[in-house]
Amino acid sequence: MSREYFSAFPNAVLNIMPQLGIVEVAQEASKACGKNIEASGVACIVGILGDLTGNVIFSMSEEGAKGIASAMMGGMEVLEFDELTQSAISELSNMLAANSCIGLSEMGLNVDISTPTLMQGVFTLSCSYENCACFEMQVGGSRLDVYVSLEQGAQDKHFSSVG
């Protein structure tokens, strides 16, 4: 499939972060990264269905997540990755995914998103499709990786397996 649509995801980061008070935001690199992703820290998984089907995963270090959460809460000091911080990161993922949807709809693609699932620790994420795209973003001095695992028209194939 054409992957130009994927730019909606890094663009969402560039759009949303300044609204949260983080002005220093840039895309550092983009690359293909296969099906399995090694991650440590925090990962937020959001399901996507519609003209494109799959998942988007936002991954960052715990320190990075605390920094972003702090900015989202008006500069409040964040020492622990506690419930409030987790809730802020879930909300962030939701905002980023929703903004990506708006970007996609401007390209003529309609998709809906699920609620985010937040995991912490050291783990491997095995995506639904081969050839995941990774966008490495710099956000207020820390790294945010956006993994996009999407296929066009994969929904029918997916449904046949559900029966």
Partner: protein, 287 residues
Amino acid sequence: MKEIKVVVVDDSPFSVGMISSILSEKGFRVVGSANCLQEAVEAVAELKPDLVTMDMIMPGADGIECTEAIRVLHPNIKVIIVSSMMDDEIVQKAKKVGISGYIQKPVDAEEIALLINRVMANEELFIELDGLYSDAFKESMSIILNKFFKEEPRFTDQLKVNDENTSRGFSVVMGIIGKYGGRMLLDMSVETARNMARYLIKEEALNFDVIVNVIAEISNIIAGNACSMINRTNSLYGFRVSPPTVVYGEVIKISKTQLSTVSSVIAETSFGDVYINIGFSRSACHE
């Protein structure tokens, strides 16, 4: 549909009168009114309405602050803004606190009746879902495990709490998308996952990717079947599942979620325990 009780909050007695008479004419029961934050809080505490119509600009506290104050008492109360001002800034603010709808003054009788009925029907649908989804997923899991492994799982530790969890080592996450957003998580030890895959593939030495594929597909089928069961009760749900993401590792914490309802249960099988956690958010996917 049951009778809908409404409290009208507006600092102008004229507006309170106008809105109340329109609502009464349209068959809603106006149980009270309030002119300021304090009165609004008292009215909600005492009268327990289903819905509040909220003016935006009032002396002392605006409609958003009023909404936040009454939500403390009654977290699921529906609030619609009825205001002469209606611009992007107000709508954005209102969305943040989960306002269900907006009507601009002067109030059109048809428009407000339609909005209130739509908001309340949505709430009724969510309550219905809340009552049936955990059984649907349990039943689906039972049927699917039985078909694949010829055994009935024994369910234990059924809970309806939203809490942080520690993964057993191998998790499958699936998004649910439809009238409401949600997700299903299936969690087990790597050993349990391997045992299940081995039973089905009938090979001793399994490539880890094969285990991932097998458990992802089983999860997919459980979620798909459960969503179909729910959709059959009311086609408005229109639930579908997004493809699975499998997460495995030594130390994984599954955070407490921002969901309106969460339910979990452990299925004991001869391969080991399988934990399933399902949740839905009240906010609709399509809004």
